[in-house]
Amino acid sequence: MRDTAIDKKLWRTASERVQPLQSFRRVNIANLFVLAAGGIILFMLACALVPQWIAPYPPTEMQTDSILQPPSSKHWFGTDYFGRDVFSLVVYGSRDSLFIGLMSVVVGGLAGSVLGSLSGYLGGKWDLILMRFIDILMTIPGILLALAIAAALGPGLLNIVLAVAVAGIPNYARVMRGQIMSIKGRPYITAAISIGMTRLDVFRKHVLPGSLSPLLVMATLGIGSSILAGAGLSFLGLGLVKEIPDWGALLSQGRGYLTVAWWICTFPGLAITLFVLSVNLIGDRLRDHLDPKKAKI
């Protein structure tokens, strides 16, 4: 087949650089969501960085004479069974939760993309071996892997990060491999080879940068699932135990009180959900933006 048709399409995208859209009203709503998501993420980042500016009480302060107080103007999110201010706890708890989310994505993403890159770029025997390894990791569902690793390493922030990170490796590796393989077939890679660039340079300068955007999208989405996985570990009793609990621990500790003091675990739950939701929204938007099919090449 002549591939002129495809070229025509490519042609088209150049002249179509103006994004077609359907209705302004609706698009504005979608934008509003993304804007809100961005706001939420920024706020939560602020919570993680400077909780003392935001939280009205020290997170560990126990007012034992006012335990299990429902939300009020004094305690926006009520108090927990120690008499701690739930709002302050949620604010402070963001730090470890976000850390788990971000770091495990960084670690897992890095490891996964190294594996995926090697596999995709080297191809052949390497590909076969590495992909088998990834397949093996895939057959053990992520949370189980995390469970085993968390159990092996014991509690601790970095251990949780590691457990969650390892569970994420196969996904990153697969995406990266696919991306590398698709880029490897592009004409500009042939062009780079034909001007005499070394394999390593081609990889460094062309293949890798081109592969990063889907990885970025995945990483964004991964932050959400990592936070959820961390919370899941807390639920199963393998989570982080610290003076200032993270969201997962808050949620998991407060769940026994749902019938008598719904606020204790509802707010951390909402915090997780909202954050993950926002991250996903942004990730989706990022994907739309970076999607090679929609992009301005």
Partner: protein
């Protein structure tokens, strides 16, 4: 066709064994040992512990245990639980049906809800339905299951008494857990189906169909959807893994019988043979489902039929 299946089976077997070895190694590194669960640490003497360790055979080097394990496995012996000495195979076989039922029901919910919302969302792109469906999808993947599970339980079981709060017998006990788990899956599927529907809707053959004057409903459901499902099906294969894993939490929340809980308990108690057995089984399930998924492609996508 048979050749391809045979090849796939062979490599799947390899993968399953690989995962068994990997898990064995990870668990070997776990600190502590099963004697902790068996003996009361406050009264147990070191001799008692050592003796028990020897009885259980957990004091041997890793490779000996590993070889032993696989030797037995080849003879169809999955070993015995270190904790209660019961054979692993029957333990798994009795716990598997509820887990499978849960996984299957959750998958069914994910797939039905996911595809329905995904399609509606793509067809009414940027409309209210789309916004709704995408939010449902997002919420689905953004909520911790143990939280949403307990919320559902409090509402539908404690307050409304519509469904039982726990247990694993009868379809009624499946409702809440499978919804909890299904929401996640549908979240993934909505997004995927929506994207691939939108992609397919831009394909030239959709224009052809319209140019032929085919009714829009036929264009969407008989043509666009069928093509859009192909990537969704891969997702389904992957989701089975997620769902199987999800049962760990769900089975605990809803006190269901199942391998998820067995596994979680076994991991924490370092009950190697049980962990091995369960991982082995779920790996087999996972691999089988993915094999089936690959085969089912060919039902939908004739392009692949020739490659068989």
């Amino acid at each position: 066709m048979t050749r391809m299946i045979a090849g796939r089976l062979a490599s799947s077997l390899l993968v399953v064994f690989g995962s068994a070895v990997l898990v064995f190694c990870i668990l070997y590194l776990l600190p502590g040992d099963p004697t902790n669960t068996i003996l009361d640490p406050s009264t147990a003497t070191p001799e008692m512990i050592n003796q028990l360790r020897h009885q259980l055979g957990v004091d041997r080097p890793l490779y000996v245990q590993l070889l032993d394990y696989f030797g037995d496995l080849l003879r169809g012996d999955f070993g015995r639980s270190l904790l209660d000495s019961s054979p692993v195979l029957p333990k798994i076989l009795t716990s598997f049906p509820p887990t499978l039922a849960l996984t299957a029901a959750s998958m069914a919910i994910s797939v039905i809800v996911g595809i329905l919302l995904g399609v509606l969302s793509a067809i009414h792109r940027n409309g209210w339905i789309d916004i709704f469906a995408r939010l449902v999808g997002l919420f689905g993947i953004s909520m911790p299951t143990f939280w949403s599970g307990i919320l559902l339980l409090l509402i539908f079981s404690v307050h409304l008494s519509w469904f039982p709060a726990m247990g694993s017998d009868g379809w009624k006990t499946l409702v809440l857990p499978s919804i909890t788990l299904g929401i996640i899956g549908s979240g993934f599927i909505v997004r995927l189906v929506r994207n691939s529907m939108l992609e397919v809707m831009n394909e030239p053959y959709i224009v052809t169909l319209r140019a032929k004057g085919i009714v829009e409903r036929t264009v969407m459901y008989r043509h666009a959807l069928r093509n859009a499902l192909i990537p969704a099906i891969t997702m389904i294969g992957m989701l089975v893994g997620e769902m199987l894993a999800g049962t760990v939490v769900i089975e605990t929340v809803f006190s269901r019988q199942g391998i998820g809980r067995i596994l979680a308990d076994a991991i924490m108690a370092k009950d190697l043979p049980v962990v091995q057995g369960v991982i082995f089984f779920s790996a087999i399930i996972y691999v089988t489902v993915n094999l089936l998924v690959d085969l089912s492609y060919t039902l939908i996508d004739p392009r692949l039929r020739r490659s068989l």
